[in-house]
């Protein structure tokens, strides 16, 4: 089974039915897999804070949401995380492409990578870093933890996890 299928299987098994995405090269396979699944309403967003608004609405409408985005989006979404998702206490799994880590070819990506964990820690967001492919085995538990605690939760997936760049 491909890693993309495995990830989307876990989303579906955890009743996630509404997924918004902003693309990243590393996430192309996951996004294609989400788009192909009948169980999931896939709604691409133009910016990640917009996507968090969509997810908040879907959650209040009774559907479990998730957002797929790049770590650079942390810079765009701090306000939406603090004043919408956290303030109204909503669950939101964030599957994040962690650019700028080992095997990254583009130097500029490192500039946000060095801030990513610090910003997530500052926001008190439970954060998991997938570096080896076997780390995906924790995804199911992470998703359950997210909905149990009604918090945004970050899963950082780096280039090594995706099998190189």
């Amino acid at each position: 089974m491909s890693i993309d299928t495995r990830i989307v299987d876990d989303l579906v098994a955890n009743d996630i039915r509404f997924v918004t995405t902003v693309p990243c090269k590393q996430l192309a396979g996951v996004i294609a897999e989400i788009d192909a699944r009948d169980e999931i309403y896939h709604i691409p967003s133009n910016k990640e804070d917009e996507g968090m608004g969509l997810c908040a609405g879907a959650f209040m409408g009774g559907k479990r949401p998730a957002i797929i985005m790049q770590n650079t989006a942390i810079g765009v979404t701090i306000n939406a995380l603090a004043t919408l998702i956290q303030y109204y206490r909503m669950p939101l799994p964030m599957i994040i492409s962690y650019r700028g880590e080992l095997r990254e070819p583009i130097a500029c990506q490192v500039e946000m990578a060095v801030h990513t964990k610090a910003l997530l820690a500052q926001l008190h967001i439970p954060t998991y870093h997938f570096h080896h492919q076997s780390d995906v085995e924790e995804l199911d538990l992470i998703l359950k933890h997210c909905f149990m605690s009604s918090k945004p939760v970050a899963v950082l997936t780096d280039a090594n996890f995706w099998g190189g760049y």
Binding site: E50, A80, T83, Y87, Y88
Partner: protein, 184 residues
Amino acid sequence: MIRYEVLQNIAPLLRDHLVVCNIGIPSQELHAIDDQPSNFYMLGTMGLASSIGLGLALSQPKTVIAIDGDGSVLTNLGTLPTIANNPAGNFILLIVDNGSYGSTGDQPTYTGKKTSLAKMAEAAGCDRVVECQAEDTGTVLQAAIEAGEMTIIVCKCQSGNVKMPVITMDPVVIRDRFMAAVQA
């Protein structure tokens, strides 16, 4: 006619539907005019009322009316293509366009100058866009509710606010009673 008067006029229409109301004075005014559990008041996060409303409309069958402002739509313009390409027959976006950032002291926005939000919505691909004068908002909104077709309403009104108390309700209470109204 200013936003407060528009909200007063349409309050009897709003109370039977799910309403997502924009941050700041719009939410304070609606809360003072006719507080309902079916109102979701945004206490922060400028710009996301239309996105929350769309996500909600796509996830359950009840009619959703998102009350947004010109300044807030301008800050989240990407919402228009997303709305256009994910049509929800139960979604109405009511943009109260007073040509100003009302909650921050009525600084002018570009919609009071050369920019038309109705034309931008059309260009984004929204099929049913209605621009109206403030006085006609109730009639246009009623028609949109009955149409069962996704509608963007741009209500042109004057700038100005009515001083209302800040909403002190806990956000989790707002969200919890709103979700109960969604399920009801």
